[in-house]
Symmetry: C2
Subunit: 223 residues, 2 copies
């Protein structure tokens, strides 16, 4: 299996990454091809498609191996489900699958670069394949969601004090607020005093969650 | 990369296989896990989902390697498109991606067996991963199809003489007629006298296509 590209996102670790692709539409990322795949011919016509599939490696999960069952956070962390009935990273072959929106195609000195939105990948994740999303085959309107009852429909209300927000690069703010509104907390934790956090675009972002309200309490630059 | 399962379908070769998954809904196939993955725990709860993703290997394309561009049959075989702008088998890592409908889950002496419909895979194709189709992330209603204008909306009318149809096992007939109606002919061939054919469920099926009419002219048992 050869790495054809790597994705550059604002998440150095898994913490804070939206739980599926497409949830944070404002979150942009860049796909940069590996030297052997920088031929612009390889992506000829790709801008005719609006969405792409990425098949990638949960590279941070490879060492941990896989389990036959997992405890999905969305099910409260108490219900065991078979690995093939989940999108868990801890699976044989550690393959990930994400649908992203293609925003821009550029030819740079490092070959073609694809700007995409909605990616749920950590920074520098290796990509094994890029395919067009073919709506008439891939969009299944009749598909049933086994976890439907656990989906949180309403986004959190994000309280982000202006002086903290100023510490985030301006063009990254809107996406961060979107990510926070998606409730980046394990489904089975409900302590309103607990401080959660993740690294985003060079800052450590800390917050609390009380009911449907998320309040940012600290932003520390990592540089 | 480890093979976790193999799929058993009615197509010994690529000829006749629907061009994408989900097109031939009556076409059933069985997924049988490899010995190391026959633990029923691995699929616990999978029947809560209606559709599954298969990530698999275009194993017949591995030897041929890959090309930076391909000539999609749907574009008349004359327009070069980048490999990452198509679902061509001749791609780096030779990965395939298909969405199938889960019809039945059984625990057999060979471990769990998943019966699925709509698969576009050749018999015995190696599978690397099975994931649930998560509609809220995977069903993108706003996705644009670059090849939309070339899609054939209306199925062919299939003329299948009764004495030839009798040679096909009864439970395989409906799916075969569906497959034939999908126009299993390269998009750039239009000779009404030419005989096309493929192997299906132990028979060699031969037919001609004139306009929107497909006529089966011969069925020969391969046993």
């Amino acid at each position: 299996m050869e790495i054809i590209a790597r994705i550059h996102t604002d998440f150095p670790t898994k913490f804070g990454i939206p739980r599926q692709s497409g949830l944070a539409e404002k979150l942009q990322a860049q796909i940069v091809f590996e030297p052997d795949y920088r031929n612009p011919n390889c992506i000829r016509g790709i801008d005719g498609w609006s969405h792409l599939w990425l098949i990638w490696q949960f590279d941070r999960a490879v060492e941990a191996g896989w389990s036959d069952t997992v405890l999905p956070p969305k099910l409260g962390g108490k219900t065991r489900v078979g690995v093939f009935a989940t999108r868990s990273p801890f699976r044989p072959n550690n393959l990930g699958l994400s649908c992203v929106k293609l925003e821009k195609v550029e030819i740079t000195k490092d070959g073609p670069v694809l700007t995409v939105s909605g990616a749920d990948l950590a920074d520098n994740t290796p990509i094994f394949d890029i395919k067009p999303y073919v709506p008439y085959a891939d969009c299944r309107l009749d598909a049933v969601d086994a976890f439907a009852e656990t989906r949180q429909d309403t986004p959190l209300t994000v309280h982000f004090p202006e002086e903290l927000l100023q510490k985030i690069p301006e063009e990254k703010r809107e996406a961060l607020i979107e990510v926070l509104s998606l409730n980046p907390r394990p489904g089975y934790q409900h302590d309103p005093t607990r401080r959660y956090g993740f690294n985003y675009a060079g800052s450590d972002v800390r917050f609390t969650i009380d009911g449907d309200d998320l309040t940012v309490v600290e932003v520390v630059s990592l540089f």
